[in-house]
Symmetry: C3
Subunit: 394 residues, 3 copies
């Protein structure tokens, strides 16, 4: 199950060809190893012999860890060099490990699907870096920023993969049994509801009522992000449907209005729109989780269920649901602070002129970092030029 | 396992780009929620508190339910509007729930892989709708009805996905243990045998002995459809191989001769050839299932096995295999009747001029419903026109 | 799990469009059935009634069997006819069954991930056939031997699929429990480490430091091949990382220097570079396995673990690890001999002029065996010619 989980993270950004899929692969492989070390130091260090014990759970956790960095990559896609990505991943994984330790162990918030720990953190981490690396003349690369017909279909492969494995992802580290089933079903319903809303909103707000592929590719997944925290709680099917419904609206409207606004006025260039797919739904997920936790009662969960679901054991034996709600909210704040703070810090480092990033008119172009042997494409461009000359000369 | 099952249904028709993959996604998400409600009312309604209990089995069943509608979508692909698809799904899921209830619960036929319940019903449902929505001037869109090189490769992704998850699909709701293993192995062998036959027939019946990608994409799956009902019975490996062999022949010949014949003389325009991939193999599957059930003896299955395999319990305690065979055949008839009857009914509704379907010369074109921002494609078309002018002027 | 395992074998060579994916499908389906028979005769024949019992393990084994032939297909891709492929598969599966029987049962070597049995054998089998079928004028087809932008992205789908299911593949037939976990984790780490090394080497050895997509697609998987044998042993995480590191270097350098050298001086035309991805890493895997086995001690494994891991039971009750290391090495030699010997033999048969293979200037072209209805492509080529005329006439 873990390798499938990991796999879908890999296909995540496939729509931007070599750089997207190749660097994604690189980040993931690098991040995994570093995450295993970091998580080993924080969680599974055996103090008797100074060795880190690795099990399958560690690999799943490392996957989750890397997920945050892959999300952040979405914001800077096409604008940074591979070396910058490695630095970003190095710091991202480290920050993630600390943040996860604080939220899950110290604050004792629950976050099975990682709405806060992964998506909120990863989203704001990426956005802050993108803000620090603002390129005022990025429009020189605008000819390459769009999609082509086939690349959109490639992206749909990624979307469908994520969509179908999201329930497994959200339920991977929940308690086995009831909690796991609940997480899978809640996620499923939220996702299904988001798809409908996204299609409706996309059609309503575009001229001529046409659908936009970007929304279908991204916003359809927002519901899965937003039920991440609350999925293992008693959200009830109608709760999941409502969360999915709201997220579909917010995420799609975000693509239509917020992303252009952010680029123009806030100087945040968000290539993949991770603000709409991860940051906002992540925050919503955190809030929904806090409310659901605070509203938990013994009559719905049963005493046993309450203890199992929220892990009221050990030092947190005397916790009550209302206070747990507060802890969840505190966890969300920590995730946002780590995301923004860490992003600004790492952004400063990445602004140093030593990383070999591409010029403004060279972004979103695989030619910078890859051997592209595509004669057809070159032929085609030559052809276009020749024809422009031909047509001009008449 | 269920989410994987669902996922492959999604990739099913990917070869027709945005509309295929996007509307497929939409239908599935919408159908799922409606199917959960329908199946809840029919099967898992808790009368004490009026609530529907949802478990993972319900999600699997809802998937199966949606599968029928996605099959039907194959017949009308590119010729209907999204609103028509929603209506088609709404009625399709409702009809499916009633039909499934009659076949499985009232008639007590067994249908693990859904040869009758899903494929026969879905196939004839789609074909009837396509017949009702006959477009005499569809050849005005014929320039867009073919495939291009890359779209054929995309379709192969769908084929391979379906192929590899088909054994899991056919064995998903069988009895655990022996029955499940048997279903998986039988399906596997039937599929392997169909591939060989399809390649052979495709090469034999084409001029120059060349293979046709359409056959490889579709007919290779027909064997899996045809063992759907009988997979959990004692079909024996050679039985599966024979079924696969026959289906490969029939399905491929169907594409070569039957689909053009149906379009020309029966006024059924079957875009994806679902008659060859689902309807015919589904009927064959139903017949094979009836024969295999009727031929079951205690010496092969054991008393225990007979009861487990055919569920001879409760009201059906005194059932014998020969009568079970009759029930299977009755189930097949019900599936066909529901498919054709339901399709004609829904087709009438869809002929109302309020659904905003595309004009005859605008079918198979994503431009009608999607924002297509493919400058390269537009450039290319402009280029072709310019060149025709240039060449003409010399 | 098995069907997923099989699925990834299918997607394996998708980058060469119809022929790659279609013939791969054909070989696999044909090989599977033949392998079931062959393995049935060798392993699971029930002598009492002369029937072969088929279970899920047999299907997994048949998959493994076919894997060898699919690897060999990589070397001759685009240069042989479907009939030649069938012959190659027929003999390949037969040789594989004999070789596997000798290595695993007679020599009693352990080879969970098939470094020796599958990859070394398959690699050298394919290379020898390619050597026998040397085409001196293959450069007449060189215009078709490259990749295009989208086909490279298709290939990445295959790479990522293989990558993510490799740990499952290597651990599929190990002992359940500890051994299986160990195999998965070791493979995972080796793969992650290979990715980093491949990117580094690819960037270092190319002019301008650009990355080459061919290396990312292939060499990133070499680590998984190389830990195949040793994965279930106590390789330790650092051992896996080192193996992955070395393989990444060797495999990438192989693509840069060895493949051109082999083509020029050894007359081996290796289309997919299987020497770098399968043959060499397979041999390394065999050697690593032999060393790891020889170095096994009771203090690390425990008496129980030693017996379980190396299957020191029955006739091999008195085996010691050092001798097991020798047996592993003997197994590797057998695999190489069978691969080269079998390949030369089958190559001789395939040189008979009765198989209808394509002419030297027609290789790597789907037109030979497939109906290609790609008007856009034809238009495009016509266009290019017209334009060359136009430009020339000015």
């Amino acid at each position: 199950m873990i390798f499938v989980g990991f796999g879908f993270l890999m296909t995540f950004l496939k729509r931007y060809s070599f750089g997207a899929v190749g660097f994604n692969f690189l980040i993931a492989a690098f991040g995994l190893q570093w995450a295993l070390l970091m998580q080993g130091w924080f969680h599974s260090l055996d103090y008797t012999d100074g060795k880190i014990k690795i099990g399958v759970e560690n690999l799943i956790n490392a996957d989750f860890c890397v997920a945050g960095c892959l999300i952040a990559y979405g914001a800077v896609l096409g604008k940074v060099s591979p070396v910058q990505l490695m630095v970003m991943t190095l710091f991202g994984v480290t920050l993630f490990a600390v943040e996860e330790y604080i939220i899950l162990n110290l604050i004792h918030a629950r976050d099975a699907g990682g709405s806060m720990v992964i998506h909120t953190f990863g989203g704001y981490y990426g956005l802050s870096i993108s803000w620090m690396l603002y390129r005022p003349n990025l429009d020189q690369s605008s000819r390459l920023q769009g999609s082509c017909y086939h690349s959109d279909v490639f992206a749909m492969i990624g979307t469908l993969f994520l969509w179908m494995f999201w329930p497994s992802f959200n339920s991977a580290i929940t308690d086995h049994g009831d909690g796991q089933h609940r997480a899978a079903i809640n996620t499923y319903l939220a996702l299904a509801s988001t798809v409908l809303t996204t299609v409706a909103i996309s059609s309503l707000f575009q001229k001529h009522g046409k659908l936009d592929m970007v929304h279908i590719q991204n916003s359809t997944l927002a519901g899965g992000v937003a039920v991440g925290t609350a999925a293992e709680f008693m959200l009830m099917p109608y709760g999941s449907l409502i969360v999915g419904f709201c997220c579909g609206i917010i995420s799609t409207l975000g693509y239509i209005y917020l992303t252009p606004f952010m680029e123009k006025h806030l100087k945040i260039q968000d290539t993949c729109g991770i603000h709409n797919l991860h940051a906002m739904p992540g925050v919503i997920g955190g809030i929904v989780g806090a409310i659901t936790a605070a509203a938990a009662t013994e009559s719905v969960y049963g005493r046993e269920g309450l203890v199992n679901t929220f892990d009221f054991e050990g030092a947190f034996k005397d916790m009550v649901p209302t206070r747990q709600g507060g802890h969840q909210a505190a966890g969300l704040c920590v995730a946002i602070c780590f995301g923004i703070g860490g992003g600004i810090l790492v952004g400063c480092i990445l602004r140093l002129p030593i990383w070999g990033d591409a010029a403004d008119d060279n972004c979103f172009d695989d030619e910078s970092y890859w051997e592209v042997r595509d004669e057809a494409l070159q032929d085609y461009e030559m052809l276009m030029q020749t024809l422009h000359v031909l047509c001009g000369s008449r």
